[in-house]
């Protein structure tokens, strides 16, 4: 198992070091990972995509493309059935077996490193731009994003005490599924100059204890806007006994952001 994981890691890591692959003529691309799909759209190359994964839901138009499944549970034959000549995927895509089989069928795969910092976003745009053979467009987008990030920096420097933020992915039976460090939500909070109240406690997403929420004393609760009734959701969250005891509860500070936790070109806009 360890050996397999190791090989998998090497296979996944290698392409990002090489970074020399260009497929300017690829016009049947399978895009795996929300941020990657967004980047391709932002580069204006969306006509070259033939299929996407379940996590790619933005922009709206992408939902019309066939869905090859969840990015971590790809099926080799499913992907092959759309006749791809290039796969661009987040480096955390899988499973390793399916990727091996795709390579066996001589479909090139370009991996894009995951990351939740401005630099990671710029780097992944670079990787995608290179793979598509549209470096010039990528450079333009990168330059534009750089300006946006710089503006954010300035804004952050100007603001006084950092806001204490609790990001909740969902509310499961009255408990918040909150973001720790190492997530898109954490990156976003840092970017706007907030403090992620759960960053010290754990990595990834976990259901948090009511008392931990009270102790963390967030100033604001942030969730993604899902489908459905937002104001009702705010009421529901703010009425939770634990949340009610925090500054966020007292001031009814509840915010929703569009769902885009994989870092992509919209990041500064969201922030």
């Amino acid at each position: 198992m360890l050996r397999k994981t190791f090989f998998g890691a090497v296979c996944l890591a290698l392409p990002s070091f090489l970074q020399a692959e260009r497929y300017p003529t690829a016009d049947a691309i399978v895009s795996v990972g929300g941020p990657i799909t967004e980047i391709i759209y932002a580069l204006g190359e969306e006509d070259r995509i033939v299929a996407r994964d379940t996590t790619s839901v933005f922009p709206e138009a992408v939902n019309d493309l066939p869905d090859v499944g969840y990015m971590r549970r790809l099926s080799a034959e499913g992907v092959l059935s759309v006749g791809p000549d290039l796969i661009i995927a987040r480096s955390t895509s899988g499973p390793v077996e399916a990727l091996d089989q795709l390579r066996g069928a001589a479909v090139p795969i370009v991996f894009v490193e995951d990351g939740f910092t401005p630099d990671a976003v710029l780097a992944s745009i670079g990787t995608v731009g290179e793979a598509l053979g549209v470096e010039d467009k990528a450079d333009t987008l990168i330059a534009q994003l750089r300006t946006d990030f710089a503006a954010l920096d300035a804004q952050r420097a100007a603001s006084d005490t950092p806001l204490r933020v609790l990001f909740a992915l969902s509310v499961d039976g009255g408990r918040l599924n909150a973001s720790g460090s190492g997530t898109g939500a954490h990156g976003l909070i840092e970017l706007v100059g907030g403090t992620n109240v759960m960053a010290e406690s754990f990595e990834g997403y976990k259901l948090v204890n009511d008392e931990a929420v009270i102790l963390a004393a967030p100033d604001v609760i942030v969730m993604m806007d899902g489908r459905g009734d937002h104001s009702g959701r705010a009421d529901e969250v703010l009425a939770l006994p634990s949340v009610a005891l925090t500054p966020a509860g007292e001031n009814a500070a509840f915010l929703t952001i569009p769902g885009a936790l994989g870092f992509g070109p919209r990041t500064p806009e969201l922030a």
Partner: protein, 359 residues
Amino acid sequence: MTFSSSLAGQRHATRPQGDRRVLARLLTALLAGALLLTMLLSLGWGAASDTDVVGALIGADDVSLRDRTIVWDIRLPRTLIGALVGAALAVSGAVLQGLFRNPLADPGLVGVSAGASFGAVIAIVLGGSAPFWLQASLGSFMVPFAAFLGGWITTILLYSVATRNGRTSVATMLLAGLALAALASALTGVLVYYATDDELRDLTFWGLGSVAGANWQKFWSAAPLIIVCLLAAPFLARSLNALALGEAAAGHLGIRVQAMKRIAILTVACSVGASVAVTGGIGFVGIVVPHLLRLVQGPDHRGLLINSALLGGVMLLLADAIARTVIAPAEMPIGIITAIIGGPFFLWILMRNRALVDL
């Protein structure tokens, strides 16, 4: 004699023995043909419907690399693993049912699959911190081996809890299975808290099995174990028949009951463990297949075990065909499909055999 009479159903009781044996042989031939056919269909079916299967199989020159990969590296290992795992689960069900002398035993229902999954999960999450010599000697076999250990321990626990003085209470067996499955999934839940996000996504796989991601490496890591068990199972047939009369009677008939029980448990643990290790937990095959066959050919294990293997392979391949095509190009876990078909079937068996489960 609760076992044989309830399993055979009263209306078959008057049919002469000879007829049944002929029927069983006929079924064997029929099912072998059906298995071959489903395997061929399974090679032809898939999300990529325009694949040149025949060309790829006979090695024609003008076949694209894509089609060759789809047929040889994706569908063929998948078909073989599907047939083997289906056979293993159905035979394990039939052996467990003979061993416990009741028709409601199934590796999934009585916790053996959950135990095997738990073993696999331990190996995935904690495998990296296992002593080096263990990793070095087991390598990629660590997960199947751990799954086998988990299944083995669960089967032994189940048997020792549910059997007293050579008699197995159905209710006790089902309840013990429930408890063991709950315990195994709770312990799996504990490990979930230690797992990284990546491991976590892999873990969800063990609950709802899938034949997707089959490759030759997986095939070779599981096939030898499963094939040995499948070949060994028919030799248990006479003993299981004798056991239907009760342990004491079986002993008087010259069966070495303890040794035979050990072999039966080992067979089930090995084949379920190896199956779970490559496909995760697939439920209900072990209960549906032997039960259907008993309705037709009666409770004699001599034909039952072989036919269970064949029909199990057919059933799992058909379920997999649904799994891989219904939401193509994405794929559905096969465990969902076997549960949707098997759940109502199980309820139906329960209703027919209500007397069996009365506490």
